[in-house]
């Protein structure tokens, strides 16, 4: 049975690390050196460093930290030893037996770099450098396409460089984006603090800060657009070749890169848009509030005005919205299908009509004849000929009278049809029939 490994407890972990003797002591100079090494590796797309490369990077650190040039070799040696001792740099030459020393940044070093990189911002210089590296990698891939053919070639010489080199370089740009976002937040915060503290004195500083940031952002956006266009051009050619050679895995990687490039462009567009809104707002503030109220007395006066308002209120007169009287559109109802029916009041009038009474008399006569000859009485059958000759309004009012008469005379329950019948097809009139079979 497989044994389940128990997770170590907090005291166990603490004890283990404490007893290992590990300690980390990193100076400002060492942190800067580490970042220098990281940037060099990123630009060169190299993962191994030789002592001469490390020394060249350290020369920059020495220069910036105002170190003495004469003692450069010694200072360099000490710096390398400190990085090795702190496990920020590791030797990757198998211990150095008979070989020239080779170094790489350790996992711990990369973690610190990750933390420090978060604050690294995107600017035109580093964007141009990284984009140039991407374009150059794409050019190498494009050149190699002449010898393309095998799946192995597409995997080793196209997909992997695209996935690991190009995608990593785009990641480097994206990381710097976050840095730029943070920097913009800091600028906003700084402008607010400056205004809060110095008010009128801050006017010039704020205007300068606004202008500088706007110019930087605009330049960066333009660079981003032009570099993106160059990168996409290179990618297009590789994509066409991969498509022709039916390389879906390569196409998938290229699609991913396209997406990230589009996102980069979108990010740039949004940042420029949001900054321009902020720029307008601050400019308005500076022009209409700071210049208008140089001694910042208005806010205080306004607070006083508000506090005294209940005691001495004042009101603003505004125009009363005019009432526009408009004619209402008349909507006539559409042509409705005419349904013939008799209103009760009209029915009364019809009963008095001679013609109406004549129809009733004729129908009664018909029924009586049928009853006398013991024929069956079918209401629909009786009224149908009358409906053909007379209007419905002449016949309909008498139907009730006819039913009463039939019921009275037959002395039996007539049968009623459950369905509605139309005595005449072309007439919108239906009734439940009543039939009395007298045979």
């Amino acid at each position: 049975m497989e044994s389940i490994e128990r997770a170590p407890s907090v005291p166990e972990v603490v004890k283990k690390i404490y007893q290992s003797g590990f300690k980390l002591n990193i100076s400002r100079l060492d942190a800067a050196y580490l970042m220098g090494i990281h940037t060099y590796l990123e630009i060169q797309q190299n993962f191994i460093l030789t002592p001469s490369e490390l020394e060249r990077i350290f020369a920059i650190v020495n220069d910036i930290s105002s170190g003495m040039v004469e003692s450069l070799p010694q200072r360099f040696n000490h710096a390398i030893n400190r990085l090795l001792k702190n496990q920020l740099l590791i030797r990757v030459d198998g211990g150095g037996l008979g070989q020239m020393p080779q170094f790489d940044v350790s996992a711990l070093g990369k973690s610190i770099i990750g933390h420090l990189s978060h604050h690294e911002t995107l600017n035109r210089q580093n964007l141009t450098i990284i984009a140039a590296k991407i374009v150059s990698t794409l050019s190498d891939i494009r050149r190699s396409l002449d010898s393309s053919g095998s799946d192995h070639f597409w995997e080793e010489s196209v997909r992997l460089p695209l996935k690991h080199v190009v995608a990593e370089l785009i990641t480097a740009i994206e990381k710097r984006q976050k840095g730029l976002d943070l920097e913009q937040d800091e600028v906003r915060n700084k402008i607010s603090r400056l205004l809060d503290k110095d008010w009128l004195e801050a006017l010039v500083a704020c205007e300068e800060l606004l202008e500088t940031t706007s110019t930087t952002l605009q330049e960066l956006y333009q660079t981003l657009l032009s570099e993106n266009s160059a990168i996409k051009q290179g990618l297009n050619e590789i994509s066409d070749a991969a498509d022709q050679s039916s390389q879906p895995r390569v196409l998938a990687v290229i699609d991913g890169i396209y997406l990230r490039l589009d996102q980069l462009e979108q990010w740039g567009k949004e940042r420029v848009g949001s900054w321009s809104q902020y720029y307008r707002r601050v400019n308005d503030f500076l022009q209409s509030i700071v210049r208008f109220d140089p001694n910042r007395e208005m806010s205080q006066r306004l607070v006083e005005q508000i506090q005294h308002y209940p005691k001495s209120p004042w009101f603003l007169n505004l125009l009363e919205p005019p009432v526009y009287r408009t004619l209402k559109e008349t909507h006539f109802p559409g042509n409705k299908k005419k349904v013939t029916r008799v209103l009760s009041c009209h029915a009364d009038i019809e009963e008095e009509d001679d013609d109406g009474n004549l129809v009733l008399d004729l129908m009664i006569e018909e029924i009586k004849q049928r009853l006398a000859s013991s024929q069956s009485v079918d209401l629909v059958e009786i009224i149908r000929p009358f409906l053909k000759e007379h209007s419905l309004s002449r016949v309909y009012p008498h139907i009730g009278t006819l039913i009463d008469l039939v019921l009275k005379e037959i002395n039996q329950h007539p049968s009623r049809s459950s369905s509605w019948e139309k005595p005449l097809e072309d007439l919108e009139f239906e009734l439940q029939n009543l039939i009395a079979d007298l045979k």
């Binding site: 209409s288 209120p313 009101f315 603003l316 125009l319």
Partner: protein, 218 residues
């Protein structure tokens, strides 16, 4: 505005004018954020002024950058803005002048505004002004808080109708626009705010100096 406006006839026939006219006559204030309308007024200002003069209105351009109509004759009906709207607008003007709101989007939400009102005026005055209570009671019920909120919302809607502010339906984004500075007229460049107040109540132009010494300087 496609065609050039050379006279009143052109002005009246321009498709932008009818809507603008209705809004201006309803007491609306037009700032730069109303791009089309603002641009139209700026380009045709002299014609519009001429047109409204016939009706007894004066088209004013405030120094902060907005237009509105002011009645100069008694044939035009006017109405007075409610007390709640008056108080709230002064608070909004105050908040717009605070640089702390620059850092964010420049919007306030309802709660922020209500907190500011309560903090500055105190519960007693809030109770008198917004809940219309003559007698103050310490404890504020849920219903009181709701009534206060409703009263503020009603006033905000009224201010939005006149173009003093922009609001979203749930009042999470209240944005005071430039015309909100109209509520600072009594304290604008005045050594005597009381006199300024009286002049506003009389309906005089706040941007026109009556100081004779200034005229002499000119």
């Amino acid at each position: 505005m496609d065609q050039e406006i050379n006279d009143l006839h052109d002005l009246l026939l321009d498709p932008i004018f009818p809507d603008l006219d209705i809004k201006l006559r309803s007491g609306w204030h037009c700032d730069e954020e109303e791009i089309e309308a603002f641009d139209f007024i700026t380009k045709t200002q002299d014609k519009i002024e001429m047109f409204y003069e016939l009706y007894g209105f004066e088209l004013l351009y405030a120094t902060e950058g907005y237009y509105y109509l002011r009645p100069v004759s008694s044939k035009i009906k006017v109405r007075t803005l409610g007390m709640e709207a008056m108080i709230i607008s002064q608070f909004l003007a105050l908040m717009k002048m605070d640089p702390q709101y620059l850092e964010s989007t420049g919007f306030f939400d309802l709660q922020e505004l209500m907190d500011k009102i309560e903090l500055t005026l105190g519960k007693k005055q809030v109770s008198q002004l917004f809940l219309k209570r003559k007698k103050y009671k310490e404890a504020i019920s849920e219903q009181d808080a709701l009534n206060f909120q409703l009263s503020v919302k009603k006033a905000l809607r009224e201010l939005a109708r006149y173009g003093f502010i922009s609001i979203n339906p749930d009042f999470t984004k209240i944005y005071p626009r430039k015309p909100i500075f109209r509520f600072m007229d009594p304290i604008r460049n005045m050594d005597n705010p009381r006199a300024a107040l009286e002049s506003i109540v009389r309906g005089e132009n706040p941007f026109e100096s009556n100081d004779e010494s200034e005229e002499d300087d000119d």
